[in-house]
Symmetry: C2
Subunit: 414 residues, 2 copies
């Protein structure tokens, strides 16, 4: 909860969330370098690099984080920051990784402009609803597609969203008309959880015709935005928002999409983040299925063809599948690396499969720690280069895998 | 033409075609061992193995090949035999290969019963129509699917068959109601060529409701059956017939198919014969598309998803694509093998690509011989183990490929 975080950090993150547009590479890197409080202070006083200044000058004086936090409270919106134990570290691990890589490229001068839609982590998240944010991206599926959906698309969305939500898989989408609305509505109808990732401030549901869906999602699930209250849902914010729809899901399912579409953009983010991508086929005579067919025949990482609830669950709902036995030994270097980890992270490391990537629930079973502890430890192991992500699952990093016969890992547990 | 073949061989093949059901392993192997004339004589007199006798006893005395040939002539049907220069050696090369393998397994006692539908070559073919039989399987596509097709399936079939036929690709199918009929009809409407592979005798078009399609295909294209005139289209003959639909096409396209269906059977034959398989997606709510979706997500050799004429042409209409430069040398053994080939076959061998399989047209360009000569030489090279088939294309056999740098092949041209 926000209340566990000191007010200085909250105010600083609220300020940063207001002054910078999402996915600014220089701002994110600057905050990472000096911390949110010092970064906010420097931005307010104009003592920053030209790149950071360019991204923040427009609003750096007028921003009023106290007023934003007060407006949020009035609308039952809380500010979630990376310093909170409820931050979705697991869901955002891939963006942390790509974000660091983009920042390195940018600082090396190989990338001049920080495009809208870069795969950067958010600086903060504005959240409404009782859902658990720390486990975002575990048993969940993004169901996305065209606003101008056909009756076929809405029908299939309803079947799939209702079916997976009834199996305890939460349904993530963007709150738009068409496929998005059908997905949220049917997840709610099944008594399941749904997550809306909004492009504008949460006090301004967009489109307003879907405000009752926003209300109901906020009562039982989650409504999330990177932008503070009062922010307009500008066009570029939809594109940056799509990376969070992909991040907050164990897999992304495109039901209907035209050839160039927002759903195709979300699909690309899922692939970039190493998450499984699924698509529903449809009539070849329907332009609203053309985008899905393109995804199904991508030369690399083609989407998985799904036609039923069971197909979707097989991709995002698996638990404890695909585990193999460890086949590694611990050279001196590795032992030193492991010694630097806390005891929980070491146990999680020992529970990692060698070949076939496993989901956090399965690693929890093998490690004997809770799923939430696994989810918190995985980003630590990732930063230490001990784990690799593969299709939404985790396994021991390639550099630690051996082709030699199995040798038990010397005990490093506490 | 049949007239180039001596009457004794023609009569023997006509007799064999009448006494044995298609795909009998022992009969095919017996004919291969002793030749058609001796085989027919032995069967008629009952001087054969128990397996051959079991497959031929029912009709061996009553068969009257002279009467069959006379009935055929009355219906403008000719008998095509493997000894003829017009025999579709190219199209049947894969069945020759699998047939030999099945015969070896059978004779070794590892297979008790010769199932209907074994991938054996035909003993003879009854043919009507002006089409060129020797080039069957080159620029052609099988378009197959459900008899109980939906309006969607018939519409897509019409678009694709009309489009590819207009590009000079012949359309092969089974003459049934539904997808088959739409495919033949629209190929004819485009002024293109169509090939019906029938399960019964050609004097008895089946279903009779499609007899005008049989008539028109026989006027401009080809109508082909393994069974002599008068044969009823029995159920097992549909399954054995399907292997010929796959064989006579450069690729097989399934437009609509239920989960277990004749079209899925044809698709399996295409894969067994190393031919590309394509499928059209459709609504996941339509049972008539369920078989297509299954083909699109086969774990091994999934069908290529096609949505347009261009997609189909990219699979079956390519010419001269994927050619790489030779990277081989000729050890003494190979030189001796090549010396046994006729000059045309040697030039075709020299035109084979090393890595990426090529179609006969492309090999013709490289070899400087005609496509028909390539098509006649390929089975010879195949029997000599000098060539391998891969996805409907040909390349030099694996045992002759080297990973060493390119070394020019010593001239073996005449």
């Amino acid at each position: 909860m926000g209340s566990l975080i000191d007010d200085e950090t909250l105010l600083a993150r609220a300020y940063l969330s207001r002054v910078a547009e999402p996915t600014s590479i220089p701002v994110w890197d600057w905050v990472r370098s000096v911390g949110p409080v010092a970064a906010a202070e420097a931005i307010r006083s104009g003592q920053v690099s030209a790149d950071v200044a360019a991204a923040t000058d427009a609003r750096r004086r007028a921003a009023d984080p106290e007023a934003d936090l007060e407006a949020a409270r009035r609308h039952d919106i809380r500010l979630l920051v990376p310093e909170s134990p409820d931050w979705p570290h697991f869901a955002l691990a891939a963006l942390e990784r790509t974000g660091r890589a983009r920042a390195a490229t940018f600082l090396a001068g190989q990338r001049r402009i920080a495009d809208s839609g870069e795969p950067m982590p958010p600086l903060a998240l504005w959240v409404r609803g009782p859902g658990d944010t720390s486990t975002l991206g575990i048993r969940s599926v993004a169901i996305v597609g065209a606003r101008a959906a056909t009756a076929y698309g809405e029908h299939v969305t309803a079947e799939l969203a209702y079916g997976v939500a009834g199996q305890g898989v939460s349904v993530v989408s963007g709150g738009a008309y068409g496929i998005d609305a059908a997905a949220h509505r049917c997840a709610l109808a099944a008594g399941g959880q749904t997550v809306i990732v909004s492009a504008g401030g949460l006090d301004r549901p967009y489109p307003t015709g879907n405000s009752s869906i926003f209300d109901r999602a906020g009562e039982s699930g989650l409504v999330i935005s990177e932008s503070p209250p009062g922010s307009a849902p500008q066009r570029h914010r939809f594109l940056t928002r799509n990376r969070l729809i992909a991040a907050f899901s164990a897999g992304t399912l495109v039901v209907e999409a035209a050839r160039r579409s927002g759903a195709a953009n979300t699909a690309a983010h899922a692939v970039t983040q190493g998450r499984p991508l699924m698509a529903v086929p449809g009539p070849v005579t329907s332009p609203m299925s053309a985008g899905c067919h393109d995804l199904l025949r991508r030369p690399a990482n083609p989407a998985v063809l799904v036609t039923s609830v069971e197909d979707v669950l097989a991709v995002v709902g698996a638990m404890g599948e695909g585990i193999d036995e460890p086949e590694r030994d611990a050279p001196g270097d590795l032992r030193a690396e492991l010694d630097r980890l806390d005891p929980i992270a070491r146990r999680v490391f020992e529970g990692l499969p060698v070949r076939t990537a496993a989901r956090p629930e399965a690693i929890a079973v093998r490690s004997g720690v809770s799923t939430v502890e696994v989810i918190r430890a995985l980003p630590v192991l990732d930063l230490a280069g001990l784990v690799e992500v593969n299709d939404g699952g985790y396994r021991i990093a390639a550099r630690l895998r051996k082709r030699t016969p199995a040798a038990p890992l010397p005990s490093v547990a506490p």
